[in-house]
């Protein structure tokens, strides 16, 4: 569904990604792992058009995304949950959700469907996003992205700093999205979380896609985790 071919790019003269090729299929979770600075977040930002590609292509259902202005990329059905959530913290929960809905002109039906997934947010619609707990903020960040009814969902370290019950809730949501045909690209550092959600795992090293393998072929003791992630 989302095809990344020979993608290179970075910040100014610094090339972070070097010839990355990766395919994320509908109904599957593709986990991207690698050490700090390997280029995981840069890859997601390049997909979103926030980092310009110097070479290569990013295709979604035949449309080349890399040449589009950044604000047009999400309208093609790519939902993004950035690292650190990046909520509009002075806006209320309801307003954050509305921004998500406006992206592709979805209405009340989508809003209700998303809030059914996160009933706790329904109770806090008038609360400012910045005053939510860490777990609730992550729920809102995911809910906001789901308001696009995305074909592809990009999640950048969604479990970072969360308690186990919240991590389980996020895993349940990701697994539910799999059944609806969403292609998920998940940047994650926790091996247990990766193995419980992923269909394929891509290992980035210094901006190069070093290895891609089926998650079923990996165990917590697999050498790839030591080699590429250092755990």
């Amino acid at each position: 569904m989302l095809e990344i071919s020979d993608l290179s790019g970075g910040y100014g003269a610094v090339e972070v990604l070097r010839g990355v090729t990766l395919t994320a299929r509908g109904g599957e979770v593709t986990c991207v792992m690698g050490r700090n600075g390997a280029g995981k977040t840069t890859m997601l930002r390049a997909i979103m058009g926030q980092v310009r590609a110097s070479a290569g292509t990013i295709r979604l259902k035949g449309t080349e995304l890399q040449s589009l202005p950044a604000h047009e990329v999400p309208r093609h059905g790519i939902g993004y949950v950035p690292q650190g959530r990046r909520l509009f913290s002075d806006l209320t929960v309801a307003e954050n959700i509305t921004i998500g809905l406006m992206t592709r002109n979805h209405g009340a039906a989508t809003r209700d469907k998303v809030l059914d997934l996160f009933p706790r947010l329904r109770e806090r619609l008038d609360q400012r996003a910045g005053t939510l707990s860490g777990g609730e903020q992550q729920m809102l960040a995911i809910a906001r992205a789901l308001c696009l009814e995305p074909a592809v969902l990009l999640l950048d370290e969604p479990t970072e700093g969360l308690q186990p019950s919240m991590i389980a809730a996020i895993r349940d949501t990701v697994m539910l999205l799999k059944t609806t045909g969403v292609a998920t690209i998940l940047v994650e550092q926790r091996v247990d979380a990766v193995l419980s959600m992923a269909d394929q795992v891509a290992f980035l090293q210094n901006g190069i896609l070093a290895e891609t393998c089926a998650a079923a072929a990996l165990t917590p003791a697999s050498p790839q985790f030591q080699t590429y992630v250092g755990v």
Binding site: M48, A70, R86, F88, D90, E95, I99, M102, R144
Partner: protein, 292 residues
């Protein structure tokens, strides 16, 4: 006149100043809050509004109210269009870099000033008030137009507040203010938002100028004071905080009115500057600004 009525007169004068200052400073604060651009040309947008008001009132025949109503509509539209053009031609090309835009808006302010000198001339020219009404209080008479200025400014500010908090466009602006990268990730055309905000900020300055020009006259150098006072207000209120800007405009306007009437206008400016210095030392984010 006894002290009580004298104080009332000073407060009424202060309210007129607060009203116009609030309109002008909210425009400056909005531009900084959303775009992170310190618009040094803001005072010249104020001046352009006043000059445009003079041209419009000269062009519209009949009762002064007709010309004034046309000026209140057309001058902000004209100044907003000039600002949107400046945004597209200059600020966008500088990628809204904070330092570069300061230099660029300094340049813009000189261009606007010299353009006004060339096309309007060096003279201060009056614009007739839309009506001539004098309210007779028990202690003194007072201009009905000045009271209308306060009411009009309050209505415009309420309109801006409703626009920012209740409308879809206002929500988009607030989201862009909070995080422009994330706004882009949700389909918001940040460049278009910036052009709109820059135009709206300039139009607000122009609205303030149209309201004040029957009291002060239009002049090509009249942008200096509004710029200085607007900066004082947004620094005290907190850069980017609309609520803080309103409170600070009220504070500075009223104190300026009272001190000017009882002592001297120069002392009022000195005290306002001292207050800014104290805010910068003890609360650099302003009275209502968050930590950045």
């Amino acid at each position: 006149m006894e002290f009580g009525p004298f104080l009332l007169l000073a407060l009424m004068e202060g309210m007129v100043m607060s009203a116009v200052l609030a309109l002008t400073a909210v425009g400056l604060s909005l531009v900084f809050g959303v775009m992170r651009v310190v618009n040094v040309a803001h005072g010249e947008f104020f001046m352009l509004g006043a000059v445009a008001a003079w041209f419009v009132t000269q062009a519209v025949p009949g009762h002064p109210a007709l010309g004034f109503a046309a000026a209140l509509l057309l001058a902000p539209l004209f100044v907003g269009a000039v600002a949107a053009l400046a945004d597209g031609l200059i600020l966008k090309r500088l990628n809204y870099d904070p330092e570069a835009t300061i230099v660029a808006t300094i340049g813009l302010s000189y261009i606007f000033q010299q353009a006004a000198l060339s096309f309007y001339g060096p003279d201060a020219r009056p614009v007739l008030a839309p009506f001539d009404l004098r309210l007779q209080l028990p202690w003194f008479g007072y201009s009905g137009y000045k009271i209308a200025v306060v009411i009009a400014a309050a209505l415009i500010l309420i309109g801006i507040w409703l626009f920012m908090t209740r409308s879809r466009a206002g929500l988009v602006m607030r989201a862009t203010q909070a995080d422009r990268d994330t706004a882009r990730a949700f389909g918001i055309n940040v460049d278009r938002v910036f052009a709109t905000v820059f135009a709206l900020g300039a139009a607000m300055a122009a609205m303030g100028a149209v309201l004040i020009v029957p009291i002060q006259q239009a002049h090509y150098l009249m942008g200096h004071d509004p710029l200085l006072l607007s900066f004082i207000v947004v620094i005290i209120g907190g850069l980017g905080s609309l609520r803080g800007t309103l409170v600070a405009a009220l504070l500075i306007g009223l104190s300026d009115g009272v001190i000017s009437v009882f002592f001297s206008p120069t002392l009022a400016k000195i005290l306002a500057t001292l207050f800014v210095a104290l805010v910068l030392v003890f609360r650099p984010q302003g009275l209502f600004g968050g930590q950045r």
